[in-house]
């Protein structure tokens, strides 16, 4: 089984964003202001202070680390500065769907 490429990433891949707190570098993509994907690598997970803290706290491996608030803010900041595109706002070529009943 080979895993193919997500059709959504062909024109708009994830791009690097660094955390302003710890400097961890991840790949991020924002479809809208509320929709974000974040790809970490081993180096980033080892660097992130909040993630390390959560790892230390959780027992039996069932605690769930939802989000690093510093990284989330850093990604939003990159979007506000125009470094990270909000795809919903730049992608005018795609036809938009009317809401149908």
């Amino acid at each position: 089984m080979s895993v193919r490429t997500d059709n959504r990433l062909l024109d708009s891949p994830l791009i690097p964003v660094s955390c302003r707190r710890c400097g961890a570098e991840v790949l991020a993509r924002k479809s809208t202001w509320q929709q974000t994907s974040v790809q970490w690598d081993a180096e980033a997970t080892a660097t992130c202070a909040q993630l390390r803290e959560a790892e230390a706290l959780k027992q039996h491996g069932r605690g769930l680390f939802l989000v690093c608030s510093e990284l989330r803010d850093s990604i939003e900041d990159a979007a506000r500065r125009g470094r990270l595109p909000i795809l919903d706002e730049v992608d005018d070529e795609m036809p938009s769907n009317p809401i149908v009943e």
């Binding site: 970490w40 980033a44 997970t45 809401i99 009943e101």
Partner: protein
Amino acid sequence: MTLQLNTDEIRQIEAEAAPTRFARGWHCLGLTREFGDGKPHTVNAFGERLVIFRGADGKLNVLDSYCRHMGGDLSQGEVKGNEIACPFHDWRWGGDGRCKQVPYSRRVPKLARTATWATLEQDGMLFVWNDPERKPPPPEVTIPRIEGAGSDEWTDWHWYTTLVNTNCREIIDNVVDMAHFFYVHGSMPTHFKNIFEGHVATQYMNSGGRADIPNPEGQPPMLGTTSIASYFGPSFMIDDLTYHFEYEDQKTVLLNCHYPIDANSFVLQYGIIVKKSEHLPEEAAMQTAIALGDWVKVGFEQDVAIWKTKARIDNPLLCEEDGPVYQLRRWYEQFYVDVADVTPDMVDRFEYEIDVTRPREAWQKVVEANIAARAAQS
């Protein structure tokens, strides 16, 4: 008139055959109470036939069911002491896979050893470790304990088992498939996030009630649910699922697990326990577990109806409001390659949160239209 068909402009569905290799990982075969009666049990799994039996020493054993002597089916035999005796010639096999005794022979031949599966009995369930490389299970991927299972404050398991005739990747896809929860299951997702990391894939979903769908029989109006559901490995999902009602929250744990029979069929199981409360004493809590379980069963049947006729698709065509199907499959792939071939991208942390604004607008319209249609009928 000439009709020009430019095949380049047609999106083609691509699909390789389902893998004939079976996922490395812990698989729940069912409740231990089903297997522990001192009789041998047959389970078809991982492309093979297994025999499960509890020996006199109390241990549950899982062996390849075909006797290495002449191919008899051990699961049709008899438990004798700590061993399973073949119905064909009474050869006795121990839980360690070794032939312990051939009663009519002076000696046991060399190499009288059969395949075994490592087992785990936990929280009322029996798990087996499947590994095509035949290595022992690493401790870091063990199944976590379920708080509530076996506790007086919670009900016993309400369990359900069914056979599904498709490759098990279909049910894995549900982890990321937000929109199908509306269209297939009548939910109203209001928050949806996935996180994959290591051998764990999580779906965090909140949902609201559907005003156009009647409540299950005997249930009060449900305001919504909060669900944190994680696959621990390729086949065992624990869902901490809370139902919100006006008068209180109802805490449940929903298990969703499966094991493959072969490349194109699997056994799907769910288990549910409900926390008892002031409003929900013993008997009522069990009734709730059964009622919610029946609701989940309907959900499974809704999925199965889709799977029955859908195509296997390796290149789904996704819109922005869809979840991370490709990234989930990349995570899932780690269980189908040798440990040495697991690449960082299969296990690195990945987060994906969907903006539900647009889906909710569209779905609210559908709900309103359904209500209007029903009002017009009556």
